[in-house]
Every structure is written in structure tokens, then in C-alpha cells.
């Protein structure tokens, strides 16, 4: 209140005596004491200490008064009130002055002093926006009246200021509150935007996860806490033939129907079970953390399928189980391949065993054959009785047959071994054939068969020398046996590109139609009736194996029974660039 205390009064009157009177009433200390009492009596307030009760300024014309009001405002010491005379010639009259003053200081309280009415009151009111700022003091006035007006109007100015300030502070409070609300509102708006964004993010993330699930290569479905299917992806649609629309929202083990034909508990239902129950249904169950995996055999579209399943519980952020996910991978092909692999491995193992058995047998036969081979001729020498000699001859022949069989069988097994074949070298074919013909001389001469080597000296083949000799030996001894009595056998060869085609021809028994391929089979004999005790039926099988080892071909041609037989085989010729080097290393 103090800071707005204002007891400054401006008196605007053209009569100097009036100014003296007012000064006496409002300022003079002697009279002031009396007035203090009056004021106290009137307002019940303690009068101000000190002698100066009002500050009184004087102006003698309206314009002067207006100027003082203006300078008081500029100084920040405005007047609380003004006493304004109605008539102040020659300048503005009272109404004009008040009008002007209020334009620059609308707060100032005004008492208009008049002896008679220059204007009607209505006129005054009409000219001035009076409000409650204007009182009328009728002349002649007494001291008390002036004093009362001064006190009342200054007090009123102060109250107005206080009210104004109160209003301003209220307005400020309202403004502040409004600003706060605006800020709160802004924050709220921002919050809402953020929430919407977060919701969008969540939706996007959900969408992404749903897409990932949808296009997982493994057949996959998801159930909620109640076991209701909430996802059924494309792969499981394909696997089971049950579309998503038919399965989503289904509960009570409906997902088992496409797999097992009935509602039953499957791996995903085992997640909450104890180990005993789990293992009763899935004896080969594998646990990894909370994930269960097992193999199942199911019928899909009437076909047995092997599925590898994995089921995992799903939890929310609070760690509460909200469902489960199970994926199924069709491993039927894998199982079939494994079974096939197992079967082949067993076969291979068996073949290996048979091979070692053959080797062992062939080998072990040699020992018991040795005494027979050694002693039968000794006995034969000492026998002269024809029947006994015939018997011994049969024994000797049988022993020879066993010996031949075991040797050839061993050879065949050795040639069929999965080991790498011996290194192929350039061999001059003509001399190789010549060597073999010489080795078979006895066999040829037995039946009066002649053998002609027609191979040109420039022909070179790539072959393992020992196998090549065995090949030609076998073919020649075969021809020697099957050539006509006193017939002829010939060996010829021609170069065809990088291949040498060799043919061994006889003029003997020939082959029945359909036998051309069979003769290369093990233990095949062209003429079963002949019971040739000196052959084993393995010779051509060995030849075939050797040619195959050299990546060549072997085949037979015959004009029919009695028309002779030609056996052809191919071997590689050395590459032209290496001919020179090949010739230097040539072997026969």
C-alpha cells in the first residue's frame, strides 16, 4: 500500500485566494492537526505522522494544470486528484481541462468546483466519461468539505490503484496459469504424438515378425497361452495342405489333426510337462534350454514322412508364458538317403569281405594243392595198370582245374580291387603280342592252330604292361581253345584317332546269337556240353576287367555257330605330342 500511497493534489483555479484557502485547509500544520482528528473520526484510520498531510500543487489555468499533470506522470509521481475550477478565463474551462487531463491520466480523481452551473450536469456528463472519478464541489465550500473530498478522493485513487494492481496481478496469475496450461497441453500433444509413433513402431515390428514367420522355410505355427492357433505359416500350409484360414483360432489340439489325423498332444504340448511324460511320448527327445526337439513319423497325404520338430515356449516381458511356437522340418529325403547310404555301406562292406574271403580262399588253396601237384605225377610214374592210370589222370586234371580256378579268381579279384590301377606306359603292341604268342606255343601246337601277328610295328598303346600281357594271354589261350582244329588265329590292330582298336580273330566254334555280351561274364562258357576241364570261364571276365581298368571297351562279334569269333578291345594311344618321349620309354 505504501508504494502507491499518493496524497498529491493539484488545484487548478484562476483565483489565487482559493489557492491560499486550500493550502490552509490541506497543508497548513496547525489546521492539519484538527483535520487529523476529523479524518480519524471519519475513516477510523490513524492519521499519518508528521505535519505534511497533502502535497498541494497549484495551477491557475487549465493548460497549466494539464502540463503539470503531464510532467507529474513523466516524473512517476502522478497526482491522486485535482480540484478544478469550472470557469477559468481566458483558457480552457473546467470541463475542457478535465477532458484533456483524463486523456493523459485517466486515473486522476477530479472534484469540479463551481458556484453556478455553467453547464448543466447532464451536459458535463455527456462531455466527460465521468464514471466515478468526478465529484462536484459547490461554492462556497467549507474546510471540512474540502478536507473530506481530499481524503476520500486520494484514498479512492489509492484503492483504485490497489484494485488495479490486484487485477493486474490476478491477470498475471491467470496469464501464467494459462501459459502453464498451454505448456502442459503442448507436452501432452507431444506425448500423444510420441505414443502414436511408438504404437506405429510396435505395429511395424509386429508386421515384420509376422512376415518373417510367414515366409520361414520351415513349417511353423504359433499358439497362445490357451493353445489357440494364432499363426500358421505358408510352409505349414504347403506341408499339411490345411490353409491358414481354416486353422487360425482353432484350439484344443486342432493343429495335430493334419499330422496325426486326430486331436492329440504333440511336441508343443510337452513344453509344460515333466520330463517323464515328455520322454514317454518322445523317447529320443533333445532339450536345449527351454526348446524341445524330436523326430516324428507322420502320414501326410497318405505318405510316411519323417519330421524334425522343435517347440519353444514364448514369454512376455514379465516372463509369463504367453504361448509357444513349433516348427517342423521334413527330413524324409534325408532319412531315405541315410537308409540308402547305410544299405550301400553294408553292401560295400560285404563286397570287401567277399573280396578278402576270395583272396584268402584262393591263397589258402595253394597249400593243400602243393602236395597233390607234387605227388600225383610221382605216383603216376610208378603205376602201369591202365585203370589206375586213368583214375590218376582224372585226379590230376581235377587238381589242375582247381589250381586254374584259384589262380584266375585271385587275378580277377586283384584286378577288381578299388585300389588305383598300375601306371599306364606306352607299349609297342607288336612285340607285346609276339611275346604272348610265344608263351602260348604249346597250347596252339596241341591243336595244330597257327597264330599270325598282323600288328604294325608303329602301333603304340598306353597300358600297364603286366595287365596288357595278361589280357593278350587270356585272349590268345581262349582263341587257341576255340579255334577250329588245325585252324588259324590272327591278331591285328589299327589306330583310330587317339584310340587303338585291337582284334583277335579265330575261325572256330563261333557264338550263338545273344551270347556276344554274355561271354564276358564270370564263369560263362560258350559250350556247356563240352565240360572243358582246362578252362575256368574266367578268362574273358579278366579281359573285360583289364580293359575297363584302362577305360577302354571290349566286345565280341561272330557270324554264328561255326563261323568263328572276333574279340575287339580298345586302348588309348599316347598323345601325339608325347609320341617321341613315349617311344624312348617304350616297353614290350
Amino acid at each position: 500500500v505504501n508504494q502507491i500511497e499518493n496524497r498529491r493534489i493539484l488545484l487548478i483555479d484562476d483565483t489565487p485566494a482559493i489557492h491560499d484557502d486550500f493550502r490552509k485547509i490541506l497543508v497548513d500544520s496547525r489546521e492539519a492537526a484538527d483535520l487529523d482528528l476529523i479524518e480519524e473520526a471519519l475513516f477510523g484510520a490513524k492519521p499519518h505522522s508528521g505535519t505534511l498531510r497533502f502535497e498541494l500543487d497549484s495551477a491557475y489555468q487549465g493548460e497549466e494544470g494539464w502540463a503539470k499533470v503531464r510532467s507529474s506522470l513523466e516524473l512517476g509521481l502522478p497526482y491522486a486528484m485535482a480540484f478544478v475550477d469550472m470557469r477559468m478565463p481566458p483558457g480552457w474551462d473546467g470541463v475542457e481541462t478535465i477532458e484533456q487531463i483524463w486523456q493523459i491520466d485517466p486515473r486522476i480523481q477530479v472534484v469540479i468546483c463551481t458556484a453556478y452551473s455553467d453547464y448543466s450536469w447532464e451536459e458535463v456528463l455527456e462531455r466527460l466519461e465521468v464514471g466515478d472519478r468526478l465529484l462536484v464541489l459547490k461554492k462556497p465550500f467549507d474546510a471540512i468539505e474540502v478536507c473530506q473530498l481530499a481524503s476520500t478522493m486520494t484514498a479512492k485513487w489509492q484503492l483504485s490503484r490497489q484494485a488495479e494492481q490486484k487485477l493486474a496481478s490476478l491477470e498475471e496469475a491467470v496469464r501464467r496459469r494459462t501459459a502453464e496450461l498451454a505448456r502442459a497441453n503442448e507436452a501432452l500433444q507431444a506425448d500423444i504424438v510420441e505414443r502414436k509413433r511408438a504404437e506405429q513402431e510396435t505395429m511395424n515390428a509386429y508386421r515384420r515378425i509376422a512376415d518373417i514367420l510367414e515366409f520361414l522355410p520351415d513349417a511353423t505355427f504359433v499358439v497362445d497361452a490357451q493353445g489357440t492357433v494364432i499363426a500358421w505359416n505358408r510352409a505349414i500350409e504347403v506341408m499339411t495342405g490345411i490353409p491358414k484360414a481354416q486353422m487360425l483360432g482353432q484350439g484344443d489340439g486342432a493343429y495335430a489333426v493334419p499330422l496325426y489325423g486326430v486331436r492329440r498332444s504333440i511336441l508343443i504340448d510337452m513344453l509344460d510337462q515333466d520330463a517323464e511324460v515328455q520322454e514317454r511320448q518322445y523317447p529320443d527327445l533333445i532339450r536345449e534350454g527351454k526348446t524341445l526337439s524330436a523326430e516324428a513319423r507322420v502320414m501326410l497325404r497318405d505318405q510316411l514322412h519323417y519330421l524334425w520338430s522343435s517347440a519353444t515356449p514364448l514369454y512376455n516381458m514379465q516372463g509369463i508364458k504367453v504361448g509357444g511356437i513349433q516348427s517342423l522340418r521334413d527330413i524324409t529325403d534325408l532319412r531315405r538317403f541315410e537308409q540308402e547310404k547305410f544299405r550301400l555301406e553294408a553292401q560295400l562292406h560285404q563286397a570287401g569281405m567277399m573280396e578278402s574271403l576270395m583272396v584268402q580262399l584262393g591263397h589258402d588253396l595253394k597249400t593243400p594243392l602243393t602236395p597233390l601237384f607234387a605227388l600225383l605225377p610221382m605216383v603216376t610214374k610208378q603205376v602201369t595198370e591202365p585203370n589206375l592210370l586213368r583214375m590218376l589222370e582224372i585226379c590230376q586234371s581235377s587238381v589242375n582245374q582247381i589250381q586254374g580256378l584259384s589262380s584266375k579268381a585271385l587275378e580277377l579279384v586283384r584286378l577288381s580291387c578299388r585300389e588305383a590301377p598300375p601306371e599306364a606306359l606306352p607299349v609297342q603292341l607288336q612285340s607285346a603280342v609276339e611275346g604272348c604268342i610265344n608263351g602260348c606255343t604249346a597250347l596252339f601246337s596241341q591243336r595244330g592252330v597257327t597264330c599270325e601277328n598282323q600288328v604294325a610295328p608303329e602301333i603304340v598303346v598306353l597300358a600297364a604292361p603286366s595287365q596288357l600281357n595278361l589280357l593278350i594271354d587270356n585272349l590268345l589261350s581262349n582263341s587257341a581253345r576255340y579255334a577250329a582244329e588245325n585252324g588259324s588265329v590272327s591278331v591285328s590292330a589299327k589306330l583310330d584317332g587317339e584310340t587303338v582298336v585291337v582284334c583277335v580273330t579265330d575261325d572256330g566254334v563261333g557264338l550263338k546269337p545273344g551270347q556276344n555280351a554274355l561271354i564276358f561274364n564270370e564263369f560263362f562258357k560258350a559250350d556247356t556240353a563240352r565240360h572243358d576241364l582246362n578252362t575256368q570261364g574266367l578268362g574273358l571276365a579278366i579281359c573285360k576287367r583289364i580293359v575297363q581298368n584302362h577305360k577302354g571297351r571290349i566286345w565280341a562279334q561272330s557270324g554264328g555257330l561255326g563261323q568263328g569269333t572276333t574279340i575287339y578291345f580298345t586302348l588309348e594311344a599316347p598323345k601325339a605330342a608325347s609320341d617321341q618321349a613315349g617311344n624312348e620309354r617304350m616297353q614290350s
Binding site: K366, T367, P371, A374, L375, L410
Partner: protein, 131 residues
């Protein structure tokens, strides 16, 4: 000791057959049923042609040769391996050089006699003794 031929084979009939054939042509022969017996006879002073079976239980032909060489009993002998078939054998590495020849089982009497006579000739050249 006038024995010039020893057959080492775990099979009694093989040993007997070789003996019978040798007797028929008056060749003296001693026999051993295992590598150990062979070594004992060499320790006792035998020098000559040794027909050695490869496949024998406990100590096979190759092990026996190794032991002969290790004991310094090799000189003055010719070793001929009796084999089912000349298939390569990892165990022969390093002792092959002590083998003069291979004879494939089975063999007939004429082949055996012919071979033995050849080896005996070879032995006399090697030992410088024509007796």
C-alpha cells in the same frame, strides 16, 4: 653236414611232398616246421638252399629272414620263397634283397627238381664249393 636243402613250411604235407620228391632223386633234405626251427638248424651249421614258406604262424617267412640276417647266419645260403602268388606284401620291404627267387605254389615234381638243381648250382658258385 651233407644236407644242402631245407624246406621251411608249417604244413606237414608240403614238407613231406618236398621230401619224397627229393628222395626220388637222391637229394638230401632237412625240414623245419617254423622259423624258429629253421634258425636252430642254421645255428647248428646248416648252409644251403632254403625253401621258405611266407605264411607261417608266429614268425612268418619275412621275419625269419630278418632274424637270419640279424644273427649273421645269411652268408652261404640261398633263400627261395614259396608263395601262393607273387602278390606284393608290405612285410617284404627291406628283406627282398636276401631272396634269390620265388617259387609259386603249387609246383609239380619236375619243376621242383629242375629248380633245386639250378639253385644248387648257383649255391656252389656263390660259396665257391663245387662239392
Amino acid at each position: 653236414m651233407n644236407n644242402k636243402i631245407m624246406v621251411v613250411d608249417d604244413n606237414e604235407y608240403v614238407r613231406a611232398s618236398v621230401e619224397i620228391i627229393c628222395q626220388s632223386v637222391q637229394l638230401n633234405l632237412t625240414s623245419a616246421s617254423c622259423g624258429q626251427e629253421c634258425l636252430e638248424q642254421l645255428e647248428a651249421g646248416f648252409r644251403g638252399v632254403i625253401l621258405m614258406d611266407i605264411m607261417m604262424p608266429e614268425m612268418d617267412g619275412w621275419d625269419t629272414i630278418r632274424e637270419i640276417v640279424r644273427r649273421g647266419l645269411y652268408n652261404g645260403n640261398i633263400i627261395v620263397m614259396l608263395t601262393g602268388m607273387g602278390e606284393p606284401d608290405a612285410k617284404m620291404d627291406g628283406v627282398q634283397e636276401y631272396v634269390t627267387d620265388y617259387m609259386t605254389k603249387p609246383f609239380g615234381p619236375d619243376q621242383l627238381i629242375e629248380s633245386l638243381q639250378y639253385y644248387l648250382t648257383l649255391l656252389s658258385v656263390v660259396s665257391g664249393n663245387h662239392g
